[in-house]
Amino acid sequence: MREEHGNVAPVMIAKGEDPGDVRTDVPYQLMTILSNLYPWMSDGKKIAVLTRRCDEKALAEIFKRGYFDRARIVQIGLACSKEQIAACRCSDPVPSTVDIGEPHAGVGSDALSEKLMNMSSEERLRFWIYQFRKCNKCFACTANCPVCFCDECVLEERTFVPERGVPPGMSFHLIRAYHLADKCIECGECERSCPAGIPLLTFRKLVAKDFRDMYKFSPGDDKNVSPLLTTLEGEALEGDECNEC
């Protein structure tokens, strides 16, 4: 990112070009921006990209699916500021190699998540219905998501999201939550870019926790295959024997 027109802009600069007034304090989702560009960058040249810890994980999910050629990507590790870590309620903020910035420890928990899980389910539902009613179907959450890979999103179709116009209703958010269950790397971009101020990162964190507890799996490691894509391999399951034969 660099300073331009009194704003901070994402930039891609060629080798030797003057980077200008570089800024690293504005959390642009560079992996998403790069994903849009990548198909057009057929020249095979290497691409260096500023990489926070969450971006590292996003890259892992991208590599896993073969969207980027691993060999072309050079990661410049960026340690997030205390403020940013707090804003993301991030527990895992330090990239594998820190090239820029001071590494800071992560924060343990997301206050809202805890508050929600201590509510009765009625209260919790009331909370989310209010939040989702504000949804204006801008698709910022999918458009800016580094691990949303479809050009044509099913949430744009009428098949599973029956509500006309806005707000799109509950299924929109439930289905998206499911789609992200095994790949969300908790970068928080959905929440940052949501005009309605829906605490989407909290929603992601709630599901991520359940997913970890169930399958001991956290997205962002390109060696691990999502449990949703594997067989049981003898994992014990309730009622997995026919009780009568």
């Binding site: 009625e122 539902l125 509500e163 509950m170 299924s171 439930l174 289905i175 499911y178 049981l232 026919c242």
Partner: protein
């Protein structure tokens, strides 16, 4: 006031649970009239999206029934079902919808009685939960 009769959607795989449902019928096993069976080839073809959609539109409960693990006509199809549905349940729980509104179970072609048992239990369970809170919510 009339007691609440939940509306329930059941996905049954062609090879085991649908056959089990047929057997229950052939055996004249009586059960509540709330359950509407949709036939699919394998429980693994049940998109979690269907469940989310049904619950979001006010269906009171969704059943996904497949072959017992190991008996799947498609070898490991139901393994995937066994992985997916619990995630759906958790997500529902996270937004404050009782995860008991979605149930995954295994019913073989021979288990007419188990089909009856599952249906009857589930209907009671959901009846206890009361109407799907999303039923009346206009977004």
């Amino acid at each position: 006031m009339t007691e609440f009769k939940p509306t329930i959607l059941a996905f049954c795989c062609n090879w085991c649970s649908y056959a089990g449902a047929d057997l229950a019928g052939v055996s004249r096993l009586q059960m509540p009239t709330n359950v509407h069976v949709v036939r699919v080839m394998c429980s693994a073809s049940v998109k979690p999206e269907y469940v989310m959609k049904a619950i979001s539109q006010g269906i009171d409960g969704v059943l996904v029934l497949g072959c017992h693990i190991g008996d799947c006509h498609y070898m490991t199809g139901n393994h995937r079902t066994a992985k997916r549905i619990p995630v759906v349940q958790k997500i529902l729980k996270d937004v404050g919808i009782d995860e008991k509104r979605v149930r995954l179970d295994w019913v073989s072609a021979a288990e007419g009685e188990k089909f009856q048992k599952v249906i009857t239990e589930f209907v009671d369970e959901v009846a206890k939960l009361g109407p799907n809170p999303l039923r009346e919510v206009a977004f």
